[in-house]
Amino acid sequence: MPSTSLALTPGLGSFLQCLKTNPIDTSIETLISLLKRRQIRHSRSCATATACLLRGVITSCRTNDSAKLIERVQNVGRRLMAAQPREMVVGNIVRRVLGLIRDEAEDDREAEFSLSEVGSESQPQTPRAYDDPSLPLDRDSPSLRDDRTPRPPLTSMFSLLSQPEPENSLPSTPGSQSPGGRLFSHGSTKDVRSEVIEGIKEIIDELGQVDDQIAAYALDHIHSNEIILTHTSSTTVQKFLLKAAAKRKFTVIHAESFPNNHDAVHATVSGAAKNEDENLGVEAFQKPLIEHGITVILIPDSAVFAMMSRVNKVILGTHSVLANGGLVAAAGTRIIARAAKVHQTPVVVVSGVYKLSPVYPFDFDSLIEYGDPSKVLAYEDGDLVDQIDVQNPIYDYVPAELVDLYITNLGGHAPSYLYRIVSDHYRKEDISF
């Protein structure tokens, strides 16, 4: 959205304003319509908006019952994801918040367990079930103890041989409730809600710092006199290059990424960058690369292959990263990655962990979004518009084998290692909620 950065334009700024003044349900509706109309578009803006909205949702939920919190967040999350299924970061943030709630609930349960353990040792005759009115009293004590034991994380391979699930041994328990759900539903000692809000605040902080954290790795990857090729006006890439530019001299070849991002690229290169990313404050005043004495060469996208033989490294930003190591990035990225492969040039993708999605790309075509065709062929060319079909895909799917290295705020990873980061950040039960 190049020409619409007025204060009144609907976007992240207006949404955050709305969140402050309006009731939460209105804000949910606002974000849904913003997403639907693509008035909020950058990955980070979407992520920030989602995180802020969920913070509001949790705040307005007057309960400490984690099961209910999870249900509420799932509900809101489903609606947001349905509004814009291709904006993967929305789902990622929702999943992380769900994971936060689950973690808190489990911590709670463990604390409770150790308390009741102490109690039962002092009075060994008292069945522990009396401590908890919600548990049926007619259970035999060993199964009760199994149920309560904080099990060390059972690996999936052992789960085959592990103890039977408590439900199997206890037909008296209502079937729909899992033992976990029952346990974190009763009066907890800790304020789950405030802990979760604290956690969301950390996510929001992370979103703000992620570019700087990634840029910290720049000097390991960019060396003196190298020729770097990049594409689109990604702030993450710009910061990465700027960080290296402070210490080293190198050359940047910038593909202009016509027609969706070329204005922004021109602005970035010339240093006339407008406040493109709505939530940027200080960054907007940053000096462009040229002022650091870096040679910047602007090329049309069609010249990428011709230039590739001279390039030492390709550094790309991305829209989202998928669980198999593939990525969805601005149109034109795949050509660049493919050209780099042909020339055996290393391809480095810089991306915040928040863009890493646990979604497996079953159907690549469905991930590609199509944009405004008038950017390719303006409506002024009326005659042509009637006669030909104009398409403007915004994204490309780049398969994992074309990428050599991912740099996230956690460090550098091989594409085959991304599954591990996915499993660290999202809980299995939230992957498809």
């Binding site: 060390p152 052992f158 198999n324 497996y360 079953f362 085959s416 591990r420």
Partner: protein
Amino acid sequence: MATTTSGTTAADAEPFDIVATYNELLRSDPDLTMPIAAIEALVLLLTQSVSSTISETMDLLEKSTAHLKKSIPNPIGLSAGTDLFQRYLITTLQRPGLLGPAGDFKAIRTHLLTNGRLFIRRAKESRHKIADFGRGFIRDGSTILTNGGSRVVAALLQKAADEEGGPSAVRFRVIYVLSSTAQDCDHPNEEPEGMETVRALREKGVPVSTIPESAVAYSLGKADMVIVGAEGVVENGGIVSRMGTYQIGILAKAIGKPFYVVAESHKFVRLYPLGQYDLPIKQRVIEFKSAEDIAEESKQDSPATSSSGDDQIELPLCHSVDFTPPHLISALITDSGVLTPSAVSEELIKIWF
């Protein structure tokens, strides 16, 4: 422990034969996988034994496992089961809690002995879990190339074709590669394996084409993806599977079609083969013969069975396997999710270290 004592008396009469038990288990239930049969055999062994200490039990397990592995021509699949069982015992015993060192050894014994059926049921359920994960891979209008007689692949394809499996049945087509060598050597006139799945799929209205192995390269152009099963998934993420899988993998890579493997996570085995000829099995696939050798062989009539007792038993040609290296595999669809080949080693590390 009434069952144990009665078991002991039975054991006195006739020593427990783990190999026979294993084979019997596999024969009696065609749905049983090799690792699970091995686990079951070990559970039955424990039922029969009188061991009451940990080290005695471990020793017994180790000896029986070694014996079992030596007596079965292809121990790759079953060693996944025996390893898992052994590691489970050791980790449970080290872990604090009821079943841990402070607890009663009998408790874990009883748990294992009483839940044998449960393990089998879970193993079968994991097949359905995989089918649920894998359903997303099969899209409307896609064509899937598959081979062999894998039960997981069959479950996955049938689930996708089922109306009840999801919102609606997927309309897809299947190219089924029928192996010429994999015909049952005991019944040479029987239909090749996989025909049962082919029939079941056709029954459900899925158009199936059967092709010989030699037509794989020709047919791959019409396929959107390859889905195969596996006998064992090795540490580097490669798979040990029915002979012919490797070449399908190579062809799929060359033509640029995704190659997916469906396997239960109990098939992960701690093995690191460096190539085709590095598998711990003996199979006579390549055999060089001159006219003289053939003449000599026909004179002897029966093939020389002068193998010494220490040697691995030879795998009959109809059950021969090959190794598909990880770089040919796009993803592994397991009951713990869709994994990249490199994730396999991590799952294994989790149980071993």
